[in-house]
């Protein structure tokens, strides 16, 4: 069976239309996706597993159902990928870690099930930084995903593979998880759309925990209308997660205007450390929004400089607690050690965790330990409140906040991997929103030229709590009015085809 020729040219909305209107079949779409993965992934290393057989089977079922005239789901026939920290029954979810090698979840996460129920077809799982700890994908125990715009560079992290898979148009959308920017930063670095919803919009049941008060399932798409569609499917109440909000699924805004919207421009995000070319693209994007009828208001978020240390105290504390469960007893790999219970646990963790995970477990254990708890952990929680208060005060005067997603374009693999402090600083634009639990999108806003390569830049749009639909509307209006989305489709990947990793 040959693949659908237009596969890589369409977003999820258009691809579903093509399947439902019988211009193609789900089977042909899946063949096209598998062929593209086979051609490109040896070089890009986005996929940890490719589920060819089950994808083909599911496509056949969907085609039969369509032929019988059954109603088509909202994502009928659309191929997608999962970050390998998400539960799909029977499919290895190793979280990029040796300690979970061979772990096959006994159940499917509700946010995955909702996609499957709407006819989306899962074609694979993707590489990631171990336990989502990293900003470049380099902390994977398995393989390091590459940026399709320049394979010598990072696609960003920690959802590196899920992002590269969408940017290279191997899948039409994918799921990542965003704890401190792990979807927005890679989306910016790969020229696609990445959205972290308001904390609690999507259930965390079936997402392997890293920082429980921060983690949110967050999709990658190639268009903003696709993001609205995917979010309307995966968001909404779930009794399995007591932090999941009782609100109905996100209902896309019907408006297609930003007229009258007040956009806050935080001066702290345009200070030192921001690449001059990135700054120019983002400022131009804000001017485009003004030309479309929005107004700008200078604002201050005075505690921004405290966000990185606050985040790395809170997130590592939560991680050290969450990762205590990897003890070689209920799942994963076991090492005998000296034969005692404690010896077995310590040997298992020593062999199973990579350096960044150990570093964060140590840091988190330290800030939670007796004598340091108040000075570090409780103090960080108080500063977290101050950071949230900054946003609350700003949103009394503005409807949305606009700023860069990442201070730089994609950096080279290896450039920061030996310097944890430098790597942590690459999250400076995304962690404040995560700490505050607010919705934020990264949408492509042009390219910069670096080292002879054209590299994408992302505009970040942040909203008040629960204003997810407003954030996505503004992004969609911006996308429609500019041509940045078409740049992704123009990216020629033929040079990467067939090359070995």
């Amino acid at each position: 069976m040959s693949g659908f020729a237009d596969y890589a040219k369409l977003d999820a909305t258009a691809l579903r239309d093509a399947v439902v209107s019988k211009r193609t079949t789900a089977a042909a779409v899946v063949e096209a996706a598998l062929a593209r993965i086979a051609a490109l992934d040896p070089r890009l290393c986005a996929f940890s597993s490719v589920l060819a057989e089950s994808a083909r089977e599911r496509a056949k079922e969907l085609d039969f159902a369509l032929a019988r005239g059954e109603p088509a789901g909202a994502l009928c026939g659309v191929p997608f990928a999962l970050k390998s920290n998400m539960c799909l029954e029977g499919v290895e979810a190793h979280c990029g870690s040796k300690i979970l090698a061979g772990y096959r979840p006994p159940y499917t996460a509700p946010f995955v099930q909702r996609l499957l129920d709407e006819g989306a077809i899962v074609v694979g799982t993707t590489h990631m930084d171990e336990f989502a700890m990293g900003s470049s994908g380099e902390n994977s125990a398995y393989a390091v995903a590459k940026n399709p715009w320049d394979p010598a560079r990072t696609p960003g992290g920690s959802s590196s593979g899920s992002c590269a898979a969408v940017a290279a148009r191997m899948v039409t959308f994918s799921l990542g998880s965003d704890t401190g920017g792990s979807v927005r930063q890679p989306a910016a670095l790969c020229g696609i759309v990445g959205f972290k919803p308001t904390y609690g919009r999507v259930t965390r049941y079936g997402l392997v925990a890293f920082g429980s008060s921060l983690d949110q399932v967050s999709p990658f798409t190639r268009s903003c209308r696709d993001m609205e569609l995917v979010m309307s499917v995966i968001s909404g109440a779930d009794e399995h997660d007591s932090t999941c909000l009782p609100h109905p699924p996100i209902d896309p805004d019907r408006s297609d205007s930003v007229r009258g919207l007040r956009l806050g421009v935080p001066k702290e995000y345009f200070a030192g450390g921001l690449d001059a070319d990135v700054r120019a693209r983002v400022e131009a994007a804000i001017q485009q929004l003004v030309a479309l009828g929005a107004t700008t208001v200078p604002i201050e978020l005075p505690h921004t400089e405290y966000a990185i240390p606050t985040y790395y105290v809170v997130a590592t504390a939560e991680a050290s607690s969450n990762l205590a469960r990897y003890d070689g007893i209920r799942y994963g790999v076991r090492k005998p050690g000296d034969g005692s219970l404690q010896g077995m646990i310590a040997a298992t963790r020593e062999a199973g965790f990579g350096p960044e995970v150990k570093r964060r477990i140590l840091l988190g254990t330290y800030v939670l330990s007796s004598g340091y708890y108040d000075a570090w952990y409780v103090r960080a929680l108080k500063v977290r409140r101050l950071i949230r208060n900054d946003f609350d005060a700003a949103f009394e005067r503005v409807d949305l906040i606009v700023c860069p997603t990442s201070p730089t374009a994609a950096f080279e693999l290896g450039e920061k991997s030996d310097d944890p402090v430098a790597m942590y600083l690459s999250d400076v634009m995304t962690v404040p929103t995560s700490l505050a639990g607010l919705p934020a999108v990264s949408v492509p806003c042009g390219k910069v030229s670096q080292g002879g390569k054209a590299l994408p830049v992302g505009l970040q749009i942040i909203g008040p709590s629960l204003a997810d639909a407003r954030v996505l509307r503004a992004a969609r209006v911006f996308e429609t009015a500019t041509k940045h989305q078409s740049e992704l489709y123009a990216l020629d990947l033929s040079a990467l085809e067939g090359a070995a990793r």
Binding site: L341, R359, I361
Partner: protein, 99 residues
């Protein structure tokens, strides 16, 4: 790297059930010092009277109906365990030794 940093890393590793080698202790000790130094700015902020923010939602006391319903079957719950006997996870002896 100071002796204090080495001691902190060793003590914390024990608490975290991590069996670090000497080379790892040295590397983490040095990085630990730099990370904590970079984080010192938190201690310079006045946070008196600020309520700690322990979660990102305003939800509290989330309850569900207390109804009995099926949960994961034993076989599937055990399926990922490195060692089990079909009924229980098996761990090294915990009583009677020095564990």
């Amino acid at each position: 790297m100071t002796q204090t940093e080495v001691d902190i890393v060793k003590k914390t590793a024990t608490l975290a059930r991590l069996e670090l080698g000497e080379a790892e202790i040295a590397k983490f000790g040095e990085q630990f010092g730099r990370i904590l130094e970079a984080f010192q700015k938190l201690s310079k902020l006045d946070v008196s009277g600020v309520e700690p923010m322990t979660g990102a939602t305003a939800l509290s006391d989330v309850l569900r109906d207390d109804r009995a319903k099926p949960s994961l079957e034993r076989e599937r719950a055990l399926s990922n365990g490195p060692k089990h006997d079909g009924e229980y996870f098996i761990v090294p002896k915990t009583i009677g030794g020095d564990a």
